[in-house]
Amino acid sequence: MKKGIIFIISAILLLGTLAGCSGEESAQAEKTKDGKVVVDFWTFWGSETRRPIIEKIIEDFNQSQDEVFVKHTYLPWGDIWTKNLASVAAGNPADVIINDINSVAQRAENEQVEDLSNYMDDSFKDQFYPHLWETVMYEDKPYAVPFNTDTRLLFYNKDAFKEAGLDPENPPATWAELEEYAEKLDIKDGSRYERVGFYPLWGSIGAASWMTSADGGKGFIKDGELYINTPEKKEALEWLLGWKERLGEKNVQSFEAEFGSEQSNPFIAGKVAMWIDVGTFYTQIRDYGKDMNFGVAPIPAYEEGSGNWSDGGGFVAEVPKGAKHPEEAMKFIEYLTGPEAQKYWAMENYDNVANIEAAEAAVEELQGDDKYVYEAAVKNLEQTQLFPVPVEYPDYQSRINPHIDNVLLGKTTPEKALKEAEKDVEKLKRK
């Protein structure tokens, strides 16, 4: 009797394990009941704000189709690309995925994405901002289609400007003016700051962007050449150190540690008078700023005429290598990056979209502050650069950043750090 029970339990365990190994695989249907091809679309847009927007776009597309049916699969931000990688390696990937705009070439080189040149004509690319289209090209072939992007603007508190005797319609345009304004906007109580006018490393900007701006818009790597250890970049680092010295390390740290978002964002809370952030930061001001009186302007230039450079990022839609229905997938991508869907996306969450016509239509249709900020953000794209990761220097930032950290922590000089950084990146070079 006992043995019988033991045997049954073992058998169940064994079967359970076997079933676990073989299950699921075939469950993914390739066609709907009415014969439409199913396109599996992976995104990381699961939030309350984004999910309904993307699902509306998908629904609109599905209703217009009698051959293709798009199925949305949401994967969390932390998982989506490792999962994609694994599924490409296993030969069973999604049909369309949203991926990072700055690493398309890297994925193309490693054969993780499909070449899309056969599915589009020459004029297709004209719909998109050229600086975005450049990022999807690898060896003269497109491997993705740009979806959205961002750009950085200077947000400033007009009430604080008035209080400090500054003209609220005349924001700082150069680094020198920025310093001058910032000092006037500071409010100090003894050695403690109640309000900081500006600090260049807060908000959505880092040392690298200032260095690029000082260097006439040249990043660390251009056309395979390194421009890390340049006099202009060194000067930018020294300038950044100057800010830290003026405010005091402790003040900077204690301010930084309290940074939060929404109501507790230091700009919205009135603790910092000028703040650089992406265009969509406006939605936080709108929703939590209680009719805050603010203005936006391009990031101040290194000197007059040297360019109000901004960094950008963004996402693309692409077809993972080995996807079963690239043609149908491309049909959906065309819609997703076309004027209609892109305008909807822009109107709903203020992202800069990749489609020029859609961006301009959104500017037309928006009203009030919505329009004011969005128009500025669209205009700012002219001076926005993307820095795609060069294939020869993957992961180069991880070699430069620690050196910059050490400069800002006062552990080394800008001169030494940049020399070392350039040496470290040289070592990284792939043949």
């Binding site: 490693n110 204690s254 290598k321 991880s398 620690p402 922590l409």
Partner: protein, 327 residues
Amino acid sequence: MKSYDTTIARRGTDIAGEKEKKKTAGKRLSRQTRENIFGYLFISPWIIGFLGLTLGPLLFSLFASFTDYNITSKMNFIGLDNFKRMFTIDDLFKTSLWNTLYYVLFSVPLTTAGAIFLSVLLNQKIKGMKFFRTLYYLPAILSGVAVYFLWMQLLSPSTGLVNTFLGWFGIEGPAWLFDPEWTKPALLLMKMWSVGGGMLLYLASLQGVSSSMYEAAELDGAGAMQKFFYITLPMISPIIFFDVLTSTIGSFQIFQEAYVMTENGSGGPGNSLLFYNLHMWNNAFEVFDMGYASAMAWLLFIVVMILTVINMKLGKKWVHYEGGDNK
């Protein structure tokens, strides 16, 4: 002792076996074979899991470590190049190894001593002890990302509880996670807070130490310290050994803390929290250098293996097994 137990057990099976025979007399496998089959059947879930999910990938990664495998498009044999690269080209390799060694070197002794200390305190016979035991064990059940976020707040330079507390004594606390000199101590502090798990192990073994030994020692005039060092410590040394061994291995694998508590999982200010596994992860999934990452994994395996063997050898000198002859 031992042989007596086994006889009983055998006799038990014999009886069961005879009953079976009577019921189904005929062609049957020998008892030995049947027992073996059942044995394997019982461990089959593990065997299947091990062969399919562990051994295969393990061997594959060993092979990959000698190639330029990038997951999707290439896998060319490049000999020992990956290993050469660690020591000649990749500067972050050294940084990450150093960070990890630093962490292991401090975290293992500190958490072990902390757990023993705590368990001795919690082994006193006073009122309300159950409450304190629960209290100190609590952090051990709260684990993972939530705890890291909690600590990021506690360690906040100007408003965090830790620095506020230090401020009461006129001490100006460091910037913790923002200052490369203090990031690793900050992690150690966090680890010390959750020694409750180890404490539980020690507490259990402390309660197994026979009180007659303490009584005998007291009769001979031993003080509290002498009792602790000559009775308590040797008696719980197998558990200490087990704890040191497993926590050394675990500490080498530190990853989550750095991944969650640094901006974009980058390794913190000045790469001060770039631990070995984080660097490996970045290589594998950020730049798709899976071959190199596999080589790193195997190197870590070798390092940990050597340390474990040394630990085992040293263990024989100081670990006391009750009833055994220490071999």
